[in-house]
Symmetry: C2
Subunit: 340 residues, 2 copies
Amino acid sequence: MAGRRRQAVTIQDVARAAGVSRAAVSKVIRDAAGVSPAMRARVNAAIEELNYRPSVAARALRGASYTLGLEVPHLGNRFLTQIVDGALAALEGTRYQTIIAPADGREGYGAIEALADRQVDGIVVVSPRVDASWLERLAGSVPVVMLGRHHRSVHYDTVVGDDLAGTGQVMDYLLGLGHRSIVHLTEDFAVTTPGSGVPHALRLQGYEEAMTAAGLKDRIRVVRTGQTEEHARATVDELLDTRPWPTAVFAGHDQLALGALAALVERDALGEISLIGYDNTDLAAHPAISLSSVDQHGTEMGRRAIAMLLERIAGRDEAQHHVITPSLTVRRSSGPPPTR
Amino acid sequence: MAGRRRQAVTIQDVARAAGVSRAAVSKVIRDAAGVSPAMRARVNAAIEELNYRPSVAARALRGASYTLGLEVPHLGNRFLTQIVDGALAALEGTRYQTIIAPADGREGYGAIEALADRQVDGIVVVSPRVDASWLERLAGSVPVVMLGRHHRSVHYDTVVGDDLAGTGQVMDYLLGLGHRSIVHLTEDFAVTTPGSGVPHALRLQGYEEAMTAAGLKDRIRVVRTGQTEEHARATVDELLDTRPWPTAVFAGHDQLALGALAALVERDALGEISLIGYDNTDLAAHPAISLSSVDQHGTEMGRRAIAMLLERIAGRDEAQHHVITPSLTVRRSSGPPPTR
DNA sequence: CTGAAAGCGCTAACAG
DNA sequence: CTGTTAGCGCTTTCAG
């Protein structure tokens, strides 16, 4: 019931047109050795003429699909844009193509499996909510690079930002400015469990450590919310119902920060409360937003992930783990605490 | 050199384990008729046991890949999020999977071809800069739905917003408020050529018609810029160098509007100049932005596109063209012109 | 340097 | 209801 009308000019047709064997054509399109220039020319002419395109499916059945898969969480996540841009840039000039599979539900299992089923030559996993041992197993059958996971597998590579360092920069900055009442806005436990290796867990940990080191252990205040901007907005709005207000909010990522910003703007509290996000998504720089945020260099992350995948495909066998140092970008959303 | 380690449990293995023929297994996984309950049970057990997953490549070679391809321009485009969300929702519960191929360069040819090469069962094309006749040819070999193209093909379906209506709403609103000096901010000619069927061309046309109808033909002022926020920002900034300022700016899409907003904010001109965008992307609603914008109902567009593709795959043969009526959402970025 | 032949994993007639 | 048999389009030995 599906997929007819394959007008399909096949390798056979090309061979016929060029008056050679299928094998010869195959060699030409793969740039394999052992073809005379004359034959190559004739074959290429026929290919051009017939507008022939090799079937990736047939190819994948034998060898490689020359396709890399990128599993991503919800596309609304701006940070992804950076990663995808980097990945695409890294692929330029290679014969590989990337396809993106957006996570279906909360997790990305379905999407990842869909990629594997499609015989991609390698997979970059971005969704944080996938089980490490499950990935480990997957990595046994296809090269995998996991983005943003601190856990170090032996079977797959990782590219991750130094979340402790990033958080440290934020906290040094805020504490240095004189802030004492700093709230950390983050997501639910599923993603912040200590030891899970999920970035948010480390950011939380870094926050708590910095507060403790500053002698503010009893002022630690972690507020959890859902992963959307709306959730963050409602949560922060509620937070502002009770005084005293904190003097600073450190959000686990920019989407949360944008939600927080919405609440602050509506309460006209932006002058009193500093706000810092994480990811430095494109919007942070917009003058109407001007959000201080930690730049994770997502483009570089995407680029590295693809580079590592390509290495794996080319034969590398030991796992590699790449850490990228983030940097805080200060904008108008943060400053010294209000003086009384 | 690529794609080894296919631990590959094949249909053969399952057949062996269940003590039946490959055909039997095939029937079970396809839910085809002619299998005894007993056999079905045994086969399913074996599938479970071996953790078997059918190879999409092998399947595609014979029949369908059960994969739909979505070609999209740059992922930074927020409007896409709506479309993809709608598409994913429409696919829920079907056996189809979507893969996204981001346009490589300016156009989307490479990405579209990549999808076709991968034997997808249908393609949704979003990039506006693809040649209609090229698409026509493609549509001869695989079902195609084109988003946001007014041109009516006989071979592929289209889903498009009623851009004249949307523009009409904007202009009625602005003119009704008393605006006379209204600038239209749009992209370069490649995408605004009259008759091209590209939405931006119609928005431009609608703008000119509305101005003319209001007796403001000589106040028509079209400003062209690049497609990024940065371009729009610089262009509008330059625009503000010379007085008198317009009292309203109607941007061709939200990204341009955001750039314009940046320039207005920096010049502190927001009180004097009304700004309206198009697409009603998620950011427009943010209180720090609060951009008036035309909602194209992208989610519905994505949903329809997939529905139509599924119909085509199921056998429909005549082209169908679906038009969605947009609606203007007014926010704080627009209001009456300043009174002197 | 060139071509014949044997599959890759699966589906789709067709026979039993 | 079940199994046998041909391929789908391509790559890849292996002879010529």
